[in-house]
């Protein structure tokens, strides 16, 4: 009983269970599901392929966003629903710098690193805007971020005068694809770098402690000398940075952008990742690794659904089912009931023995 409780109360339990469940379903359906093969791409370089690689590759943006979304959720007790739109803004800014306002340039007009840094600044500015509304003006996060959610994609289109620029340099496509000679998708490395950075930040600063303290009890945190306004603000700025990195990957995948569909509905997946990681959406304590794992579980689900030929406009419905299950299983009453059920069962077993 106590062992059972210990396992189930671990935050990684829910996403891990979901992962195992999905893996088993796929394995039964197709024993070759986990096969990874080494082939060559059309540029003649070796690349790995297979469902697992696909999941790792396409889950990258979500994994990166989950980092920022976890912090925002923990500190503010609310969620940022504007990440999809701000990806469009940051991506558009990146293309504007790379193509210099010309939709079909012969060469890139600025180094990729400059474009990326500009996108980072733009992303963080969007985050700062949301953060100021939430932290300073005490507006509910979902309402505050509704502003950029509504206006963001139009702003993105405005940045490039409604043009859809195409980046001519093949190097730009490495970020969302493969670097020649390296068979692992570049996105995997980008995520790894992000994870290492956030792990270092959490280890060598008090960001985690402060964020949780503010999320759990703002008034008490203040009396302990923490500045809750600043912490909330910072969490949104960090999410803005994550958005810029995600935008780099998204735009790089096709070397172009479509303002109205890029990263569509990704905010809901990012929020779902946080919830799936067992983090309370009302804020407070968080487990970063659990959220990131949650992100890959969602991509696993998406890939599985594509495999089973589920219409992609029906994906949302399946995700809704996951949300319902999550809500039900994390409800205290259900947990109590399950606990009692386990108790009874172990008692019955003892009696039988």
């Amino acid at each position: 009983m106590s062992k059972f409780k210990k396992i189930t109360s671990n935050q990684l339990f829910i996403p891990l269970m979901a992962l195992i469940l999905l893996a088993v379903i796929n394995l039964i359906n197709d024993p070759g599901f986990f096969k990874v093969t080494l082939g060559t791409n059309n540029a003649g370089y070796p690349v790995l392929s297979g469902y697992l690689i696909t999941i790792l590759d396409y889950g990258s943006e979500l994994g990166i966003l989950a980092i920022g979304m976890t912090l925002v959720t923990a500190a503010s007790g609310g969620q940022d629903i504007s990440v999809g739109a701000t990806i469009a803004i940051a991506g558009s800014a990146m293309l504007r710098v790379l193509c210099g306002g010309n939709s079909r340039p012969e060469t890139i007009q600025a180094p990729i690193i400059v474009a990326f840094l500009v996108a980072c600044v733009v992303g963080m500015l969007c985050g700062a805007f949301n953060g100021a509304l939430v932290a300073l003006f005490k507006i509910q996060p979902m309402i505050a971020t509704l502003i950029l959610f509504t206006a963001g994609r139009s702003i993105a289109a405005w940045i490039n005068n409604n043009e859809l620029p195409i980046v001519p340099d093949p190097k730009f496509s490495y970020f969302g694809g493969f670097i020649p000679g390296i068979p692992i998708p570049t996105t995997v490395f980008i995520v790894a770098i992000c994870i290492v950075i956030i792990a270092l930040v959490l280890k060598f600063t008090n960001l985690g402690l402060y964020t949780q303290a503010v999320g759990i009890n703002e008034s008490s945190s203040r009396l302990n000398g923490i500045n809750p306004t600043l912490i909330k603000f910072i969490s949104f700025v960090i999410l803005g940075l994550c958005v810029a990195v995600a935008a780099l990957i998204k735009v790089s995948r096709l070397s172009t952008i479509n303002y109205s569909v890029i990263a569509k509905d990704i905010e809901m997946d990012a929020i779902l990742a946080v919830a799936l990681g067992g983090n309370a959406l009302s804020g407070g304590k968080f487990n970063m690794w659990s959220s990131i794992l949650g992100a890959y579980v969602i991509q696993f689900l998406t890939t599985t659904l594509y495999k089973f030929n589920v219409q992609s406009d029906a994906l949302a419905a399946y995700k809704a089912v996951v949300v319902i299950l999550l809500v039900v299983f994390s409800a205290p009453t259900v947990r109590d009931y399950m606990g009692q059920l386990m108790k009874k069962m172990s008692l019955a077993r003892k009696e039988a023995a």
Binding site: K203, F204, T205, N206, L207, L209, Y210, Q212, A213, I216, N217, S219, S220, S221, R222, L223, N224, G225, I226, N227, G284, K285
Partner: protein
């Protein structure tokens, strides 16, 4: 109400309490926190079910009240301190919502009825006005009007005046007197002594869930009332103190902290204050008199509006808690749940919190160091917890308080402010904390100690600042530190 009993797990909240309210009478229900006032009211209004005892109502004999609806049907209405109306609706809608006679509302009729009632009760509001546009006092009155219109015979006003200014209080009292003339019996719960003497006919005093007595207002001078509330008869107030005095070596020390005309946005009048090295002093006064607001202003917890603050004679700016902490000031807040504990975090994180913030954002303690800090204080203060990893919210109140205390002691402050550190915790821990305070002072720490229990204060403090109605009204030390003197200063006037 006769012989009311009510127990909660571990506490007997009401023991054999009698209460009598006559028609056309304003009756004050007095007592310090935890005396049982609100429990009694909740039993009367059906929020709680009594364990035993009877409630009788004029003409109806014994009545059964099992739910707030029952109470309302019998004509018992309550107006709470926080407005429980809907601010987005109009005055008239608020007065009639939930009790329309048919499902179709006749708006014209409703507004006309509302205006009539407002006029009758002389309430300065218009039926069609949105409630949130009215002042708090008028909102309060609208709530009363709603109650009155429901044929109420018994009206309970729970701390209605705490957020009103003097003129608004006057208006409210006018309304209460009108209702009294109409024959409504009013139960008035308040902490403000002056208001009791201004408007009430009778006083019932509760203490620790027991009835102290019912008195005619003219028979009970203020000092007596305070004595009854605090549980000390005037006569046997000899010097309980004594033992506290031996720790009183404060006169020699230098002044550690000094405030001049300090004022915050929490509604207290500007005050002066100082404390010396190794001194234990305190703020006393009834609940709501502004004790906590004073120390919150010192710590920068409320927004400071004016005044000067000096630490070791040097002027410093304290605008936020971190400023105070950097100047060696620590503050254990009054409301442990809201301002003290960080519930979901572990005991360890709760202990290191303040020192960690002081140390800096980029210098987190290593796990081993945090563990060592936590273990040291868990042992030192004898905190009962399964491990330092246990979330603080699963500890008992007393142990939670010790964790918060540990948090501030870990900071090694020069000046420690304890606001009601002993409230709601068991006797053993109370004694521990008092002993600790005196021990700390003997080691040279300055401590400000606030408690609702005067004997605690007398046992520990060598100087008391007395407050009434958000104003400092006196300072007592040396020979003046007696129950008698404290109570007469609190009561004022006579």
């Amino acid at each position: 109400m006769r012989g009311i009993n009510k127990s909660f797990p571990g506490v007997r909240a009401l023991q054999n309490v009698d209460f009598k309210l006559e028609k056309g009478e304003i009756h004050a229900l007095m007592g310090e926190n935890g005396a049982g006032k609100s429990t009694l009211i909740k039993v009367l209004t059906g929020v709680y079910t009594k364990d035993s005892g009877t409630i009788e109502l004029e003409g109806k004999g014994e009545v059964a009240i099992h739910s707030p609806q029952d109470a309302q049907k019998l004509g018992i209405s309550t107006v709470y301190q926080e407005i429980t109306l809907c601010p987005n609706l109009t005055v008239a809608e608020n007065m009639f919502i939930g009790r329309e006679k048919s499902s179709i509302t006749n708006w014209k009729q409703m507004n006309a009825d509302a205006d009539k009632l407002l006029k009758k009760l002389d309430i300065p509001a218009i039926a069609t006005q949105q409630l949130s546009n009215c002042s708090i006092a008028v909102q309060q009155m609208v709530a009363i009007a709603r109650a009155v219109d429901m044929d109420c015979k018994v009206l309970i006003l729970d701390e209605p005046t705490s957020s009103l200014d003097e003129q608004e209080v006057e208006k409210l009292f006018g309304l209460m007197r009108d209702l009294k003339a109409m024959g409504v019996g009013i139960i008035f719960v308040t902490h403000f002594l002056d208001q009791v003497y201004e408007v009430c006919d009778k006083i019932t005093v509760l203490r620790d869930g027991q009835l102290v007595g019912e008195y005619e207002i003219k028979d009970l001078p203020r000092v007596q009332l305070v004595a009854k509330m605090l549980g000390k008869e005037m006569d046997d107030l000899s010097d309980i103190k004594g033992e506290g005095k031996q720790y009183n070596g404060a006169d020699a020390g230098e002044t550690v902290f000094e405030a001049e005309q300090l004022q915050s946005d929490a509604g207290i009048k500007p005050f002066d204050f100082h404390i010396k090295k190794g001194e234990v002093n305190g703020f006393t006064g009834l609940l709501g008199s502004g004790r906590s607001e004073c120390v919150r202003a010192i710590f920068g917890a409320d927004r400071v509006l004016g005044g000067k603050v000096k630490v070791h004679g040097k002027e410093v700016k304290i605008n936020k808690p971190l400023d105070a902490m950097k100047n060696g000031i620590a503050y254990l807040p009054e409301d442990r749940k809201v301002d003290g504990i960080i519930g979901d975090l572990s005991v360890r994180d709760n202990i290191i919190m303040a020192l960690q913030v002081m140390t800096g954002f980029f210098k987190p303690f290593s796990r081993a160091k945090a563990e060592a800090f936590a273990d040291e204080y868990i042992k030192k203060l004898n905190i009962k917890t399964a491990s330092s990893d246990t979330p603080i919210k699963s500890l008992s109140g007393g142990n939670q308080q010790k964790v918060i205390l540990a948090r501030w002691l870990l900071m090694h402050p020069e000046y420690l402010i304890l606001d009601e550190p002993t409230r709601g915790i068991d006797v053993g821990t109370k004694v521990d904390i008092q002993k600790l305070v005196l021990e700390l002072a003997s080691e040279g720490m300055s401590v400000t100690f606030i408690s609702s229990e005067t004997d605690e204060m007398l046992r520990t403090c060598s100087r008391l600042v007395v407050m009434r109605d958000r104003k400092v009204v006196g300072e007592l030390s040396g020979e003046d530190l007696t129950q008698n003197k404290i109570m007469s200063t609190i009561a004022g006037g006579e």
